[in-house]
């Protein structure tokens, strides 16, 4: 029986092992010393204030600080405690760190890892703490991963840190309570590789994070009716495993994308576009997207739930593409 670890603890283990392995790596973020977030708790005490630096509530400046450190030869992990905290740093993310290596003609690449906690909605956190803002990063050309299981969380965190480019790790809040097998060794996964979470033959469901787990659960339910769902989890949103997506859609001929980012220009739109371009002749039904509505996520439970992609809506979409 392989070792079981909680999702957030898997991120923490990756951070500790990466910091131990590379003495030049350092990490910045808010409230590191107090350790208010479990994934970074104890890092300050272990590695000291040279390598784990408490930042003021200045997301723009500390993002640019990481860029400057990388320009000067450093490797940096930047933590945002809540996904929406990337917005105060937007210029430094999309206009600076994402563009500088190209604009400098490749004089230097920038090994900065952005650990973005608290991604996604649920539980009444309202409009400014419920976003899944990865489409902004994809649009900006920043490599982005979205780990679903604890094993993915550790492996992709290590992969992000090993990369010589900026990489964003979006950790969806909906899986923080989960546990699963996690290797004890410091083994990085590969970017750009999706995974078939559950093999099937009738419909491909593309989903990541908690939505991948929900899709797997739905697949078990529908199996009793003789409906065979394949759940394909991209894990890495940029680079995206286009060949893996194509293989799954060509096999099933039907595609439902189940994604908790905004509908317009969201991740599901990109997946649908790719499948339409690559798999048109294999498709037996129009592609369907089950996404978040293009509405600010509200506080009150019934209206919050109304706007989010749910297993019931996924099921309806699956039945629709099956005719």
């Amino acid at each position: 029986m392989s070792r079981q670890l909680n999702y957030v603890m898997a991120i923490r283990e990756a951070l500790f092992q990466a910091m131990q392995a590379d003495p030049s790596l350092f990490m910045i973020g808010e409230n590191m010393r107090a350790g208010i977030r479990p994934e970074s708790r104890g890092l300050f005490q272990e590695f000291g204030d040279d390598r784990v630096i408490d930042m003021p509530i200045s997301e723009a400046a500390f993002t640019g600080f990481a860029t400057g450190a990388a320009l000067a030869g450093g490797r940096v992990i930047v933590e945002y405690q809540v996904s929406s905290l990337i917005f105060p740093a937007f210029d430094q993310l999309v206009n600076q760190v994402a563009k500088l290596p190209y604009m400098l003609g490749g004089q230097r690449f920038l090994p900065v890892t952005f650990l973005i906690m608290g991604a996604g909605a649920g539980g009444g956190r309202a409009g400014q703490h419920s976003d899944n803002p990865y489409p902004y990063f994809l649009h900006a050309g920043i490599k982005t991963v979205f780990p679903t299981t604890p094993g993915d969380a550790k492996g992709l965190m290590l992969a992000a840190i090993a990369e010589d480019d900026p990489v964003a790790v979006f950790a969806p809040v909906g899986v923080y309570g989960t546990s699963g097998p996690v290797p004890e060794e410091r083994i990085a996964m590969l970017l750009g590789q999706g995974v078939v979470r559950r093999a099937g033959t009738d419909v491909t469901v593309v989903a990541g994070g908690p939505h991948a787990l929900q899709a797997v659960a739905l697949a078990e339910t529908l199996k009793e009716e003789g409906i065979s769902l394949e759940v394909w989890d991209p894990l890495s949103l940029l680079p995206l495993d286009k060949a893996g997506l194509e293989a799954s859609v060509n096999k099933t001929g039907r595609l439902v994308i189940y994604d908790d980012s905004n509908r317009t220009c969201g991740f599901a739109a990109e997946v649908a576009g790719l499948a339409a371009e690559r798999c048109f002749h294999a498709l037996k039904a129009p592609i369907k997207r089950v996404t978040r509505a293009d509405v600010v996520i509200p506080y009150s439970a019934p209206i919050e739930a109304e706007l989010l992609p749910t297993p019931n809506r996924l099921e309806a979409a699956v039945r629709a593409v099956l005719g």
């Binding site: 640019g64 400057g68 450190a69 000067a72 400098l104 750009g192």
Partner: protein, 338 residues
């Protein structure tokens, strides 16, 4: 190409030479814009030369600067090669950024030039990050972000002041106060005092005449020495004057010419003429020396322009290069790619 002697700013003649290079580079760039050889606009630095040259005279090769949209002067002052800068302006493969940046983004990381930048104030936090690396590696280098008076209203700059003080970083913030946030007189959009605003963050502050290169150098030397010795960050304000409009483009002209009286006053304090006069009065050189240096500058720029013009433009297929250190299938996506 610049030789070692030309790189040094140790003598007054070297200060003069470099300021003259900045001035003539910008005049050449303006001509190239108007003549259509430079495809986009340039923000020229004419009138402000004493600030970049005086500050960079206090810096060594391992110190780092960040620059602004008006960046040519800082880059030349820090030792940038005018030939490779002109090549960049002409969109050539041999340019500093291989034609990917243009006027507002020239950088040479090997010379500690962390780049001009198209966003006001954006370089300041990067200077702090570089300074942090110097400090943690036990190096005595200093980081100097240049910015204008307009940047004093930009949040990321003010956040950077706090970061530098909080982490006791070797940063010397240099505010070039040319009196205008693009076209808006700074007094209309910035209330209170710039120096007091910086002092409020706990920065050591000092101001000097930005039209006097020796005063700038002396002021910068104090701040840089302090930073090198672990004395922490400081903030310098240099009053100066941009003679020209906000930017020069071949298309619609900017209608922000200075009032004639204001310009006449500034030209009367022109930093290049001022140093030349002082050196003559002090017997440091003869009029012939000035003529000779001016001719050397012309020759260097003509050589640089020839280099730029003779360099090839980037191959269209190379447009996809340098987005990432590590590539993956389908990355970066092409516009016709799926």
């Amino acid at each position: 190409m610049p030789d070692a002697d030309k790189q040094s700013l140790d003598t007054d003649a070297a200060l003069y030479r470099r300021m003259r290079l900045l001035r003539r580079f910008e005049e050449m760039a303006g001509d190239l814009v108007r003549g259509g050889e430079i495809q986009s606009a340039v923000h020229d630095y004419i009138g402000q030369e004493a600030v970049a040259v005086g500050v960079c005279a206090a810096l060594g090769p391992d110190d780092v600067i960040t620059s602004t949209h008006r960046g040519h002067g800082h880059i030349l002052a820090k030792g940038g090669d005018p030939a490779r800068m002109l090549a960049e302006l002409l969109g050539r493969e041999s340019g500093y950024n291989k034609g990917r940046g243009g006027s507002m983004h020239i950088a040479d990381l090997d010379l500690g030039i962390f780049g001009a930048n198209g966003i006001v104030g954006a370089g300041a936090p990067m200077a702090c990050g570089a300074a942090f690396m110097f400090k943690t590696r036990g190096e005595s280098h200093v980081a100097v972000p240049f910015f204008g008076d307009g940047a004093m209203n930009q949040g990321v700059l003010l956040e950077s002041f706090n970061l530098a003080v909080m982490l006791h970083l070797p940063v010397v913030f240099v505010c070039e106060n040319n009196g205008y946030a693009v076209t808006t007189p700074i007094g209309e959009v910035l209330k209170g005092s710039i120096l007091e605003r910086a002092a409020g963050f706990g920065l050591a502050v000092e101001a000097a005449d930005g039209m006097d290169v020796r005063a700038v150098r002396a002021t910068a030397e104090r701040a840089v020495a302090r930073a090198r010795e672990g004395g922490g960050p400081s903030f310098l304000e240099f009053g100066t004057c941009r003679y020209s409009v906000h930017n020069i483009s071949a298309g619609a002209a900017w209608q922000d010419e200075r009032a004639e009286a204001e310009l006449a006053d500034a030209r009367g304090r022109d930093p290049i003429d001022r140093l030349a006069r002082e050196m003559l009065a002090e017997g440091l050189w003869s009029p012939e020396d000035r003529t000779r240096i001016d001719a050397e500058v012309e020759s260097e720029l003509e050589g640089g322009l020839g280099f730029a013009r003779n360099s090839r433009r980037p191959d269209p297929e190379s447009a996809y290069d340098f987005m990432y250190a590590r590539l993956y299938p389908g990355l970066p996506a092409r516009g016709t790619d799926s």
